[in-house]
Amino acid sequence: MSALLEVRHLRVAFETRRGPLVAVDDISLQIGEGEILGMVGESGAGKSVTGTAILGLLEPPARITAGEILLEGSRIDNLAPEAMRRLRGKRIGAIFQDPLTALDPLFTIGQQLVETILTHDAVGARAARDRALKLLGEVGIPAPEKRLDQYPHQLSGGMRQRVVIALALCAEPRLVIADEPTTALDVSTQAQIIELLKRLARTRGTAVLLITHDMGVIAETADRVAVLYAGRIAEIGPVREIVHAPLHPYTTGLMGAIPKLGALRSRLAQIDGAMPRLDAIPPGCAFHPRCTQRLAQCDREIPRAVAVDGREVACWLHGESSRG
């Protein structure tokens, strides 16, 4: 299988005076052409760090310490900064969480779109402006000619997030990384933005890594889902199966109450305790202190991901016998 994006055994650590803190550990995942992969987990699970690593935007003290990232079959994690810069926006687009702060307040929407288009494609100023107009129309902004000359503060949060999406699509990347694109928006706007993302992914055949802590969004949007816990993948596979029959006890907890789209921040109330901090990750399975079904070996050995029913799960309840 040739994936559009393939992440192999990625590890990201923050170098600190008291030694490295591992924020992302042994993460492997694939995204196919036009596929939406959801990535879900509590705050601090390592979702943003993973997305940032893929974009090549990690800043010291964060560093990729192991693993590789491949885009269309070739490694991108070891590219020179300038080569990686050219690739960003052109082959991997990005959508950030807070549309209120993602746009430069001192430049018009049009200026920001045009500079992005001109950065990636050798077109004239006229053509760039036309494309900017078309993009604004495509992301559902009414009266785009008028919007082009407006500043970010003149647009509502939802409209700004549409502009951010247009900016991510300027150079027609095959992959877009959307890090909590709806978290900062009100509920009805959230639904519209998710709808827009789904439509764009479908019509343009753009693959999306959709990062969120909202299982409801994932259930409505993604094809497959990766569940992260304390920097590791607990379970990854097709959304329908994972939602209906979670294998990992943590996923079961997450599923306990799938909120209506966007609602409910306290859905994890039924899992006692909190995710460990990076400097206090327990030995063995990081989830074992909160797990209701833990076994003898859970606090000693880290479970490896094994294939079960077309998905992968890292839990001692599943498949340890098949590994011998």
Binding site: L55, L57, R85, R86, L87, R88, G89, K90, G93, A94, F96, D98, T101, A102, L103, D104, P105, L106, F107, E115, T116, T119, H120, Y151, H153, Q154, V164, L167, A168, C170, A171
Partner: protein
């Protein structure tokens, strides 16, 4: 926009009225003008007559009103020392001080901003470290010492530049300028560096800290995620956002440059308003002192106003809903 300007103008008028009150109090209470005019041994009747002639027997607010009315027309009376109109004295000295202050401000901005940007973009380079050390010296050494050191090196030791005065000046209408002669320009170098050094280090440090702050902003991260080259990220987006607060402070510093010119003008015997002020203090020349106070205050008020308007021009957020937000 009109409401914004109007509000600022009213504030400016209030500030000037308060400063005028202080200057007026100076006239009234530092020395008795009647004694100045008549000498120590005039009779009480003579004093009363002089008092009435000068209007000093009128109620306080009437006297203040008259003072303001004349001050607005630039009439601060006669210098007690030179017996010439104060306004004429200042008109003669103004060009020297303004040219010096503008040269100092230009130096502070033209050197301070690039140094600040460089130290923010390349925090680890040795040049940045050197800049920071120099700026520490610039902040901590007193102005007169810097002036004397510069004179010692460039005037006395090397003999490259003059140590005092304005060089040759040319009259342009009523304005005496030193900018059109070689000796005038040479004479300007040391004083303007002396005067601008403190502000230069201030602007450099401010630019640096603002720029570091902006570089961490979400929209800069997003600009990188869009694939924009460093050139655009740094010098288009980061710099422009940095300059908004820097302009404000730099503009406001222009007022203190003019005010601080007193010291530099004294060290370099620069024939400006500051030197005039120092000389008038030594002779208790109250009209000159009062007029200087008002002039400096007026300058600060005008600068504040201009900076507000500039801010308004640079930041689109203020332009549209500024009236509502303030």
């Amino acid at each position: 926009m009109a409401a914004f300007v109007l509000r600022r103008l009213v504030q400016a008028a209030l500030v000037m009225a308060a400063v005028g009150l202080i200057a007026f109090a100076l006239f009234r209470f530092v020395g008795d003008p009647v004694v100045f005019m008549l000498g120590q041994d005039a009779t009480p009747a003579e004093r009363a007559a002089m008092s009435a002639q000068l209007g000093l027997d009128q109620p306080f607010h009437v006297q203040y009103g008259r003072f303001v009315a004349r001050a607005v027309q630039g009439d601060f009376g006669l210098s007690l020392r030179q017996l010439r109109p104060v306004s004429t004295l200042f008109a003669e000295r103004l060009p020297a001080t303004l040219e010096l202050s503008l040269a100092a401000a230009l130096f502070a901005v033209a050197v301070g901003i690039p140094m600040g940007v460089y130290t923010a973009l390349k925090p680890r380079s040795w040049l940045s470290q050197a800049f920071l050390v120099v700026s520490l010296i610039g902040v901590s050494l007193p102005t007169f010492l810097i002036g004397i050191l510069l004179i010692l090196v460039f005037a006395v030791q090397l003999g490259w530049l003059p140590s005092f005065g304005r060089g040759d000046v040319v009259m342009l209408g009523g304005w005496s300028t030193g900018l059109l002669t070689v000796s005038g320009l040479k004479a300007l170098i040391l004083p303007s560096i002396t005067l601008g050094l403190f502000q230069m280090t201030l602007i450099m440090r401010l630019t640096r800290s603002e720029m570091l702050e902006v570089l961490r902003a979400d929209h800069i991260r997003f600009a990188r995620a869009r694939g924009l080259p460093d050139r655009l990220v740094h010098f288009r987006h980061a710099l422009r956002n940095t300059l908004v607060p820097v302009i404000t402070v730099a503009g406001l510093q222009l007022g203190s440059i003019v005010a601080f010119a007193i010291i530099t003008e004294t060290v370099f015997q620069w024939p400006g308003m500051g030197l005039l002020f120092i000389q008038s203090v030594m002779f208790a020349d109250v009209p000159v002192m009062g007029a200087y106070l008002c002039l400096i205050a007026l300058l600060f008020v005008i600068i504040n106003l201009v900076v507000d308007l500039l801010y308004y021009a640079v930041d689109p957020r203020l332009r549209l809903d500024g009236a509502a937000a303030h």
